[in-house]
Symmetry: C2
Subunit: 140 residues, 2 copies
DNA sequence: CCTTGACCTTCCGGTAACTGGAAGCTCCAC
DNA sequence: GTGGAGCTTCCAGTTACCGGAAGGTCAAGG
């Protein structure tokens, strides 16, 4: 099938399919006489696999690993689980980071009147930032 | 002062200071006779301001807005607060997205034995992904 | 038979916010 | 005067694509 149909069936833009071919992630089975890419049903299954993995936040590199495991019948589920747990840990780190930012911002926003006057605790906080002190807090 | 000293005092790499000059975010007050960048204490204060704002996850574009407000004594705190609240909303969106990913992954990882056998619910989930059905779920 | 429009091709540039590195100049201490 | 640290500019690479230009292909309709 043509790239457009493969795009529709996989839920990915045609541009992305070309990109995945470029980087060697998923290369269509062949080309038609006219030079058009020819995707097989299997190709579409792999594309969907990657689409789902990407939607869970796996990087393209990780998708490649997962795809390799998927296609390797000698894999162990332990290998797959390890990647998933790493991804979970990564997500948790990111969430903690965002929660910290949110708490600091919320604290500042709360103190800000948000009126027509120029005085603003948010700007004052930004302006008072001392990297040396911040580093010490991090070391504690 | 030289770029190295300004970097130390602001907590940013020298490379970043050059980058900020390139994009016109913070341009050092002048140059010395030898062509070296010359940062003033005020420049360092602005660099710290940006460093702190970046650490709260503001984009460089948003940093520019905040910096403009900081330097505009005719600003209103309402403008600043609006930017902060937008950033908070953005953070909350991102956290929700990550929480969803984490929940799905955790669910899959839990079902996976993680042993030496190849059978793996994680890979099965990825392989069974149906973009049409996923889209319908989204529309609900 | 020709045209029109949808679809396909490749290639190039841009995104955000830097980071790394090469080639070359400057300054200071020994 | 020599060595090393620090400075300069410029170019390329990172991630995962997206937008667009220039041009080939195909099927349907007049």
């Amino acid at each position: 099938m043509n790239i457009g149909e493969a795009a529709r069936r996989s839920g990915l833009p045609a541009k992305t399919l070309r990109y995945y071919e470029d980087i060697g992630l998923i290369v269509p089975s062949g080309r038609k006489h006219n030079g058009y890419r020819d995707y097989s049903d299997r190709d579409v299954r792999l594309l969907r696999f990657v689409q789902r993995a990407r939607s869970l936040g796996f990087s393209v590199r990780q998708c490649r690993e997962l795809l390799d495991l998927y296609l390797d019948h000698g894999r162990t589920s332990a290998d797959v689980k390890r990647i998933a747990l790493e991804r979970i840990a990564e997500i948790e780190r990111k969430i903690r980071e965002l929660e910290t930012m949110k708490a600091e911002l919320a604290h500042l926003a709360e103190k800000c009147h948000g009126d027509e006057r120029p005085d603003c605790p948010i700007l004052e906080d930004l302006a008072a930032f001392d990297p040396a002190a911040a580093e010490e807090r991090e070391l504690v």
